[in-house]
Subunit: 329 residues, 2 copies
């Protein structure tokens, strides 16, 4: 038997943040809502003596011919060694035989794309259809990708950005204005980003709120994608209480790892607060927004079904191009 | 950056069931006992609609320069397709940077070896030094490897074997007698294997006891390595109660997945029963046996530290031989 090894360059060439990718991720959420998905809790390996951590995600999704086992590492002393902090790969496993089909050496690229794609899925179902002004808190890679994802699904004409480091926000504005061909402006205060925005994405690793409830105007949609572990928190818990509709990628995960965790722990929302899972929106069993005035908030923690979806797409596209090294096992 | 892909043939050529491997596994248990090991619970993905399952194990072990993330799959309809049921691979991750160092396409070989090596470690510390007669229940691959492992540490002169399928037991006897150059006899009843034996290994996937407490004579050591999930059970729970010393690879795991689970669930031993972890024996903080008359029972469920140990050894030996395919990530 042979397996295929694909590298980052090949994967970048095959898989883009485009409508096809967004559709694949939406299909995965639909599968998650319909049942039959087997998705164990995220494995977290914390190595304090190395200032490092590893997360492992996996999900079997009925109807997909493979499933992914995704490894993400963060070793935060790496920059001192001239290496990126984040790394990772995906093992793609044949869902009919359990045999490894491919190893995708993506260094985290596929995770970046599938994370941004989930933001597009949320905005597609929750943001007002005429959303023109996007706000973004944070200036990193996801601050870039989430806006690109948003532009696939909404007619964005202007982007406002805030970052803890004002210089980075200005650099973001210059770069993204050039790349997207629209007006991008850095703002010194988060309020001046969130207030005027029709749709907001928070993309920081913050451990305390960067978005206050009082900034939220009627009609806004907020996607918070930064919190993916128990220590993180981007949204003022009152923002969740203020929302007319609360959307989550996976309830059980958001209660442990997302904004929902802080909101429940602080008693701002009840433990049994009504939430809508993203898969209920993609499958059509619920709607994200009933009116142009509602405030909607979506809490994304990242799920194994997204990894299975994007790894399956990547493998199909890469092998159809004849990419990869074949290794006899 | 480049990573190394090693295949089964290369790994078989480098890593054998020998003293070096047994020592590496013993060192891993010592590390586990000394603290600092980070070993999350095993991830189990059960896919009933495919008659398949996946287990994922990992452990960070201080002092090892890498750690393994090990994937094992069992898809039990595979034989109908002419494929083996079991498969798997290991990702070897640099413990200083989190970057993937190698992918070991071992198809489960390294797991087979490290599992047998743990049996040798248990026998080294618990079986009588003059143990000459080995008994084995089960006729599969581990029934073979566990006896080979045993012969590394004890002067075994005769092997007695029982299997549910008597023909397989006879085939085992013929094959192993030839391979080991000693007397190997199939017996029709488990009692006739266990009674005369100085050391017994149970190696079945049974869900009900194959070894009864009344068969245990003074001085015998039993290693039960078959139970690694909540449904399995090889030992009569009374056998654990009858033991003078109960040894486990990892207490928390054995309570959930091993013989200890059944013994506690049936009320045969108390929930807080005194057990000795294998690492306490390898580190010298406890002894396996005080006298030639004691009965000792060791419950092995398989641990991530064993995977990290063997994967690290395999990588070191394979790269020193120039093996593997190097792939740019």
């Amino acid at each position: 038997m042979a397996i295929t090894i694909l590298n980052e360059r090949e994967l970048r060439d095959c898989v883009r943040l485009d409508e096809e990718t967004v559709d694949a991720v939406a299909d995965a959420f639909t599968a998650l809502a319909k049942g039959g998905v087997v998705m164990p809790p995220i494995v977290h390996l914390h190595m304090p003596e190395k200032n490092g951590e590893m997360d492992v995600k996996t999900a079997y999704v009925p109807g997909f011919d493979s499933f992914a086992l995704k490894v993400s590492t963060g070793f935060f002393d790496n920059p001192k060694k001239g290496l990126p902090s984040l790394s990772g790969l995906m093992n793609l496993i044949n869902a009919d035989t359990g045999q490894v089909r491919a190893v995708l050496l993506d260094n985290g690229y596929l995770t970046d794309v599938r994370t941004a794609a989930a933001g597009a899925v949320a905005a597609w179902h929750c943001a007002r259809e005429d959303a023109k002004v996007a706000g973004v808190l944070g200036t990193g890679l996801q601050a870039r990708l989430q806006i690109e994802a948003l532009m696939l699904v909404r007619p964005i004409e202007q982007v406002l950005v805030w970052g803890r480091d004002g210089e980075k926000a200005k650099a973001y504005a210059a770069e993204m204005s050039e790349r997207l061909g629209i007006d991008v402006q850095a703002r010194a205060h988060g309020a001046d980003v969130v207030g005027p925005a029709d749709v907001v994405v928070t993309t920081t690793p913050s451990t305390e709120p960067v978005l206050l409830a009082e900034w939220l105007e009627p009609g806004v949609h907020v996607t918070a994608m930064g919190s993916d572990s128990a220590g993180k928190n981007e949204l003022d818990p009152k923002a969740l209480a203020k929302a007319d509709r609360l959307i989550v990628d996976k309830r059980e995960q958001c209660i442990k790892l997302g904004e929902l965790r802080t909101a429940i722990e602080t008693g701002t929302v009840p433990e049994d607060v009504a939430v809508t899972e993203l898969g209920e929106l993609t499958s059509g069993s619920a709607v994200g927004r009933d009116s142009a005035e509602q405030i909607t908030v979506c809490d994304l923690t990242g799920t194994g079904v997204q990894d299975t979806a994007i790894a399956t797409v990547a493998y199909r596209k890469a092998t159809s191009k004849g990419y990869g090294v074949s290794v006899e096992t």
